[in-house]
Amino acid sequence: MKLQVNGKPVELPDGSTVAALLEHLAVEPARVAVERNQDVIPRRTWAEARLADGDHIEVVTFVGGG
C-alpha cells in the first residue's frame, strides 16, 4: 500500500500497523506523535492500529521554538 508520510510517498506491506511504519522510518517511538488523515492516533494503539492505502500520515516531534 502507498502512504503519504510527511508529504512524501512511502510504500509498506498491506495491513501494516503504525508501529511497523515507525520501525520502517527508524524513528524512536517515544519521541514522536502520529496523525492519520488529520486525527491523532493514540500511542497506546500503535501496535494494533492498521494503516490503509492512501492514508495521509504526519509524524512529528518537538523542536526548538518560542
Binding site: A26, V27, A33, P42, V59, V60, T61, F62, G66
Partner: protein
Amino acid sequence: MLGAQDPFVLAGKSWRSRLIVGTGKYKDEDETRRALAASGTEIVTVALRRIDLKPGQPSLLDALKGYAILPNTAGCYTVDEAVRTARLARELGMTEFVKLEVIGDKRTLFPDAEATLEAARVLVKDGFVVLPYTNDDPVMAKKLEDAGCAAVMPLAAPIGSGLGIRNPYNLRIIMETVKVPVIVDAGVGTASDAAVAMELGCHAVLMNTGIAGAKEPVLMAEAMRLGVEAGRKAYLAGRIGKKLHAAASSPEHGLIE
C-alpha cells in the same frame, strides 16, 4: 530568593520563576542547556514539526529534562492547524498545556484575534490549559479569559523584534480587566524591557529571541533573570510618585552658616 514567598501561580500550579523561555534559535543543544540554566526558568516552550525522515537526529527533549514543557502552535494560520498541532503536542508531550498561537500575518506575525478565540474555545472544551498569544487588546483579553483560557499573553512588540514594551498603558488596562495571569509574550529585547513588564505588574514574561539572539545568549539569559526579578521586586515595593521638581534627600535645616 523571592520566588518562594511570591510564587507565580499558573493554572493552580506554583512556580518560583516568572520567566518562561523559548528553545528556538540557539547555536546548539549545549548553548540551549546553559542559557536555560542561567535564566532560572522552569517552563520552556517548544514547537512541533515533522520529523526529518533521516534517523539519528538528537532529540531536543534530552536537553530539556527537568523543565515543564509548554508546546506552542507557532506557524499555524488557521483554527484547524492550531487545534491539530495542539492535539499532537499533547499526545507527544503528555501535557495539557498549550501556548496557542494563530498567526494572521506573515510579515508582522500578529495574531489572528478571531481565529485565536475560536481555537481557544475548541481547546478549552477539549481539556487543554490554554495560554494564548494575543494582541495588547483588553477587549480581546477579556474574551479569551471568558473562553476559559488559563492566562493571557499579550505581545509587547512583534515577535523577535526586540522593540520592548510599546504600549505599557494597554498592558495595565489588560491587568485591570482580567483575573487570570498576564504574561508578556514577545518583543522583549533586553533586561530593562523585562523589568519594565514586571514593574507594570505583569505576572510573568515569555521570551526567546531576546536571549537566543544576543551576542552572548547565556549571559543575556542571566540578565533577563535579574531583570525579571528586579522588576517584580520593584512592583511589590511600590515605586515613588513622579514629581516635576526636586525633593531633597538630605535635611534642609541645620546647615552651617
